[in-house]
């Protein structure tokens, strides 16, 4: 996906850029309102991540102009304000959602997904592997003519495997990707989700193999 990140704090911006690129997204960075407008005018983004306190103005001004120009790109506001005072009025100004700093990236991803699903976009993001078609936005998996909805953890597990087919993922890494750091989970919990995913993949020509002592690997049969 193509993101525009509007954030003035250089180190936070760098961290977010790195993190999003790690997941294979394309991200541009605008440090102020002016350059954010320039970027938004020249490039089509799937999503804009917008900070509120910016050096040359308020993120809300950008938001308002953005909506006044009838640009449809969804916007998620990154706010550091307290939850009570925020409500921000940013939703009233046309933001699609907001997330409070510091945020869990899986929550940000979940919110992005929810926003894009609401906007009805994202069919271009469909992934194919073997006989299976996977729409991460809609959270659906199609094998030949059969389409099923995946639960969130199954969906994210599939995403992880599809991001690097034929690569071995250890249980520990999968736990990091699937569970929030708030939860205490044993690595065995992963087995349950791998088991479910295997059931969904029957007939797709794609398999998840157990590599003894190392982890799991997804590959074509």
């Amino acid at each position: 996906m193509r993101f525009l990140l509007v954030e003035d704090n250089a180190s936070l911006a760098k961290a977010i850029l790195d993190r999003l690129r790690l997941d294979g997204h394309v991200v541009d960075h605008a440090p102020d309102v002016q350059s954010a407008e320039d970027f938004a005018a020249t490039t089509d983004y799937d999503l804009i991540l917008l900070d509120i306190m910016l050096p040359d103005g308020d993120g809300r001004t950008f938001l308002k102009q953005h909506r006044d120009r009838q640009i449809e790109t969804p916007v998620i506001v990154l706010t550091a304000r307290s939850e009570v005072s925020d409500r921000v009025g940013v939703l009233d100004l046309g933001a699609d959602d907001y997330i409070t700093k510091p945020f869990d990236f899986s929550e940000l991803e979940a919110r992005c997904r929810a926003v894009l699903r609401r906007r009805g976009g994202g069919s271009s993001n469909e992934r194919r592997f073997g006989n299976l078609r996977f729409d991460p936005m809609a959270g659906t998996l199609s094998v030949e003519d059969q389409t099923i909805s995946l639960r969130n953890k199954e969906l994210r597990l599939l995403e992880v495997f599809l991001s690097a087919p034929d690569r071995i993922f250890s249980k520990a890494k999968l736990v990091d990707r699937l569970f929030s750091y708030e939860e205490d989970v044993s690595e065995n919990a992963i087995e349950v989700y791998v088991g479910r995913l295997r059931k969904h993949l029957v007939g797709s020509g794609v398999e998840i193999a157990t590599v003894r002592g190392l982890g799991y690997r997804m590959s074509l049969q």
Binding site: L22, A80, T100, E182
Partner: protein, 461 residues
């Protein structure tokens, strides 16, 4: 908290007492004056009748062949009978010798001169009489001689008339007093009315209404209003400053935290060694705990500030809860927790929407946070006209044996919170919001026994 003012006296009462005192004094003076005047008039008119009677007797005195003869005219006495039924006495005497009439009628003390009648009030046979004595000089056998005529009447009728007149004067005084009391009450009321209406105008304001008071007031109140306006200005400045401070503080704390957290997540993706991964996970949890605690402390400060002076608007609790459920659904999805929303009735209420939202969000947050994956959370909203309630039931294991009341104390956490990031302020905030709206927060074990059911209940109006 509204502090009661320290009251010393009342302007209205003081004014009223002063006006009533003056009215009473004036009424008494009026009564005495009128009574004196009436008494004088009555006495004068009685005197003039007595004098007329004496004059007509005097006129009937003639000298015939060296003798003084008195032919008492009927009218002379009957004119007195017209005034009242009082008994009439008379005496005609010459140089101290009684010619006719009542000889024991007391003689006046004053010396009587011709043409100048003397009026006296005397005692006669145990009764008070009013007597006039007039004198005339006649020529008898070539020598001048003084004839004195006295006419007297008892005063019973006169006293009765006076009593009647003084009763009228009393009524007049009382009437005057009653009328002036009414006027005093009216004027006391109307003189404090501008004060009252100013007080109402100020107390009707919402907590965010910090405009200066512009309503016209009497000049005596102008200094009060202008110092009130100065005070409102200062309050506005300090409120803005503290809101800015809270926003700025949050920004300063959370932005670096966000950097650290993101970097830690990235590093966690890269390192392989189990020990390092464990430390990084601990780091991220500590960051989450810090940010949640700082957020809730700020929220708590804001909530306390707002509950002090509620800004009430009409709220559809169902709509508010539904929005929150939609907002938290992505977070619940991460754990494959299903949020079920149900609404029955029309749960309308009046309150501070931001506070109510915060309270419900804290409870819902808790339910999601403490539930194991793939469980159900039920959000039920209901309203019956008298009450609006929202209850959130989870399958997170309940609060165990922890005292459910203690849970709403600051920084107290339940038994099922091991290993979960939290500050222990969420339920405190929710309870404070409920109580500020005259509502309640109840915590019980859910019907299935699998978790807790937290209910916020608000009066509809």
């Amino acid at each position: 908290m509204t502090r009661r003012a320290h009251v010393s006296g009342s302007i209205r009462r003081r004014l009223l007492l002063q006006l009533l005192g003056s009215a009473a004094l004036l009424a008494a003076i009026l009564f005495v004056t009128v009574l004196g005047f009436v008494r004088d008039v009555a006495e004068e008119s009685h005197d003039s009748i007595l004098f007329a009677s004496a004059t007509s007797i005097m006129d009937s005195i003639a000298v015939n062949a060296g003798e003084v003869s008195v032919d008492l005219p009927y009218a002379a006495l009957s004119m007195l009978g017209n005034v009242s039924d009082d008994r009439v006495f008379y005496r005609v005497s010459r140089a101290g010798e009684v010619l006719t009439g009542y000889s024991d009628l007391p003689a006046g003390e004053a010396t009587v001169r011709a043409g100048q009648p003397v009026f006296e009030t005397l005692d006669y046979k145990g009764e008070t009489i009013r007597m006039v004595t007039s004198s005339r000089r006649l020529s008898l056998n070539g020598a001048p001689t003084d004839i004195e005529v006295s006419v007297a009447q008892t005063q019973n009728g006169q006293a009765a008339i006076l009593a009647r007149l003084s009763r009228s004067a009393l009524y007049l005084g009382i009437g005057f007093f009653v009328l002036s009391s009414a006027l005093a009450i009216w004027s006391a009321q109307s003189s404090v009315r501008p004060l009252k209406s100013l007080a109402q105008a100020v107390s009707r304001r919402g907590p965010k209404d910090l405009r200066p008071v512009s309503r016209p007031v009497p000049s005596e109140m102008a200094p009060l209003v202008s110092s009130l306006n100065t005070f409102i200005d200062r309050l506005g400045v300090s409120l803005t400053r503290s809101e800015d401070f809270i926003a700025e503080a949050a920004h300063r704390v959370r932005t670096p935290l966000a950097t650290v957290r993101t970097q830690a997540e990235i590093t966690l993706r890269r390192v392989e060694k189990e020990e390092n991964r464990g430390s990084l996970r601990e780091m991220i949890r500590a960051i989450d705990e810090t940010s949640r605690a700082s957020g809730q402390l700020l929220d708590h400060a804001m909530v306390s500030f707002r509950t002090d002076s509620l800004e009430r608007v009409d709220i559809d609790l169902a709509e508010l809860a539904r929005e929150l459920v939609e907002r938290l659904r992505p977070v619940a999805d991460l754990k494959d927790i299903d949020l079920h929303f149900a609404n029955s009735g029309t749960p309308r209420m009046s309150g501070d929407a931001i506070l109510i939202q915060n309270a419900v969000r804290n409870i819902l947050d808790n339910a999601i946070k403490y539930s194991p994956p793939e469980r159900q959370v039920h959000i039920r909203v209901s309203g019956d006209g008298a009450q609006a309630r929202v209850s959130i039931e989870d399958e997170a294991g309940g609060f165990g044996t922890t005292d459910t009341h203690a849970l709403t104390e600051r920084f107290v956490r339940g038994e099922n919170t091991q290993g979960v990031v939290g500050s222990g302020l969420g339920l405190t905030i929710a309870r404070e919001v409920a109580e500020a709206h005259g509502g309640t927060l109840t915590i019980e074990t859910s019907k299935s026994g699998a978790g807790a059911c937290v209910t916020l209940c608000f009066p509809s109006h």
